[in-house]
């Protein structure tokens, strides 16, 4: 009986056409700049150990396997794209489906469309400029893009929450939340400084974010993910996030290309996974070998297409732009 009621798409035909328009514009943008479209596998024997991401797993059965081989569904195409960079592909982009277990809500669907691109010879400032140009071109005539703001992570926290994220203690973050009538979750560990910063980010900073396009950069070193560190006091991650009308849209890095440092970060992330009770993820030795062989100096960014469509069409939920979200998949 249920199937009779929910076989139809949750997105309108207008939203489906908007998707086609936006994808055509994106491809035109990269074609005009000689950025090569590439295609890398969804399945991978290795995955990301990022403690904040949960990979789907599946098994392959066929010649050469007795009991099947375990594969991860990628959470982003980052690792194989870096192998293409090391192989001399130059600037590249990809539009693909990525998969993140556990993520479902108004702004999350466990399967979503990602645009990811890498620019050789760019640093993250160059790439932020290109993101702005791309958004202007893609959103032309769809939704106005009036203001563009640039913030460092630190200044944004000081401005919107009155907190210096680089010096504040967990106790300080807790009392700032309490002062705003927000009770911190009991499950947040006292030594999880980044978790507490994320609590303030999502409950205080993001709701105060101005409309328009906002770039936030220079994250704490502990939140570098795959970005290189910029020396300083304190050192910061050469990482940026893009917000459009208050919604997180993209994340970019001046990419870490040092194989040894990458190996160390993977090990640390797997340690954190195990501390929080998650399985360790098989390390991507092929990525490390490619970094060893040499990934050119580059900046890369991943942008959520479904959220972009939601903003472009002024919809309230991802269900309005995804034909068949998880509940109807």
């Amino acid at each position: 009986m249920q199937a009779e009621a929910d076989w139809q798409p949750t997105a309108s035909l207008d939203a489906l056409k908007l998707r086609a328009t936006v994808l055509a514009r994106l491809r035109g943008f990269f074609a005009a700049r000689n950025v090569l479209e590439v295609d890398t596998p969804v399945l991978s024997v290795a995955g990301t150990p990022d403690p904040a991401l949960h990979s789907f797993q599946t098994r392959w059965h066929g010649p050469g396997t007795l009991n099947g081989t375990s594969f991860y569904l990628h959470t982003s195409p980052e690792f194989p794209m870096k192998r293409l960079l090391a192989a001399g592909a130059g600037s590249i982009y990809q539009v693909c489906k990525v998969f993140r277990d556990g993520e479902s809500g108004r702004h999350h669907n466990p399967e979503f469309t990602l645009l990811e691109w890498y620019r050789t010879g760019f640093d993250y400032f160059d790439l932020m400029d290109e993101v702005e140009v791309l958004l202007r071109e893609v959103l032309e005539g769809l939704v106005p893009l009036d203001s563009v703001d640039h913030w460092t992570y630190r200044d944004l926290f000081v401005e919107t929450a009155g907190i210096d994220p680089f010096t504040v203690t967990v106790a300080g973050l807790g009392s700032q939340l309490q002062a705003r009538g927000i009770s911190p979750p009991a499950g947040l560990a006292a030594d999880d400084h980044d978790g507490w910063l994320d609590m303030v980010l999502t409950h205080v900073v993001e709701p105060a974010m101005p409309a328009g396009l906002v770039f936030v950069r220079d994250y704490p070193a502990s939140q570098a993910a795959l970005a290189r560190l910029r020396p300083g006091t304190p050192p910061v991650a050469a990482r940026f996030e893009v917000y459009l009308n208050g919604i997180e849209l993209a994340n970019g890095f001046h990419e870490l290309t040092d194989a040894d440092e990458q190996r160390q970060r993977f090990a640390q992330e797997n340690d954190r996974r195990q501390q929080q009770g998650d399985d360790a993820i098989t390390t991507d030795e092929r990525l490390l070998a490619a970094l060893e062989a040499g990934v050119p100096d580059c900046a890369g960014v991943a942008l959520g297409i479904d959220r972009l469509l939601m903003i472009a069409g002024q919809y309230g939920s991802l269900d309005d732009v995804i034909a068949f979200p998880l509940e109807r998949a």
Binding site: D50, A52, G102, E103, S104, G105, R106, H107, H108, I182, S183, P184, P185, A186, G187, L188, D192, D194, G195, D198, M199, L201, T202, H203, Q223, A225, E241, E248, N251
Partner: protein, 189 residues
């Protein structure tokens, strides 16, 4: 009582917050792309009726609340407690003034209503959306005036006072919407 992971959160789930039974109204998943996931939840405290917001770390577990809604018949009030009976088990439950709250204005003996039990004790009494109650006191009816304009106060058999049209007389049975406390019409019988 079982505990629930944030992955089981949905509207209507009953959980314990700060020692009080609560019902989830709305559950929002919030997560920075590279950061910690949270469930930001709107919850109604079933004892006070107040709506609060709480945030949980995704994956965290919360104690469930043993709360059940049961249709029961209102029997009588003894001055301190209001007594209800489960028509299936014939089990009787006594509710105090806090649990009965505003519902007392609409409770007529023998009428059915919803009793929310927490650990077997009445927590909230919810009257039916519509009740039929007789007028015990009002100014004399003005014959022929069916315009409904103006109106006058009328006291009902339960003690509730509602605004009614001028043509209503003592002894008439009225249909009242308990959610708004407004007169709907005369009972048809």
């Amino acid at each position: 009582m079982a505990s629930y992971s944030t992955n089981e959160f949905k509207g209507g789930l009953k959980i314990m917050i700060d020692g009080d039974p609560c019902s989830i109204i709305e559950n929002e998943f919030v997560k920075p792309g590279k950061g910690q996931a949270f469930n930001r939840v709107k919850i109604r405290n079933l004892k006070t009726g107040r709506v609060i917001e709480r945030t949980f770390k995704s994956g965290e577990s919360v104690e469930g609340a043993d709360v059940m809604d049961t249709d029961m018949q209102y029997l009588y009030a003894d001055g301190e407690f209001w007594h209800f009976m489960d028509p299936n088990s014939f089990e009787q439950h006594a509710a105090d003034a806090t649990a009965v709250g505003d519902a007392k204005k609409w409770l007529k003996e023998q009428d059915m209503c919803e009793v929310t039990l927490w650990n077997g004790t009445p927590l909230v009494i919810t009257p039916p959306n519509f009740v039929m109650l007789a007028v015990t006191e009002t100014d004399p009816g003005v014959r022929g005036d069916t315009s409904g304009g103006g109106g006058k106060p009328a006291t009902l058999e339960t003690g509730a006072v509602v605004r009614v049209p001028l043509f209503i007389d003592i002894g008439e049975v009225l249909k009242i919407d308990t959610r708004t406390g407004e007169y709907v019409g005369r009972a048809r019988d």
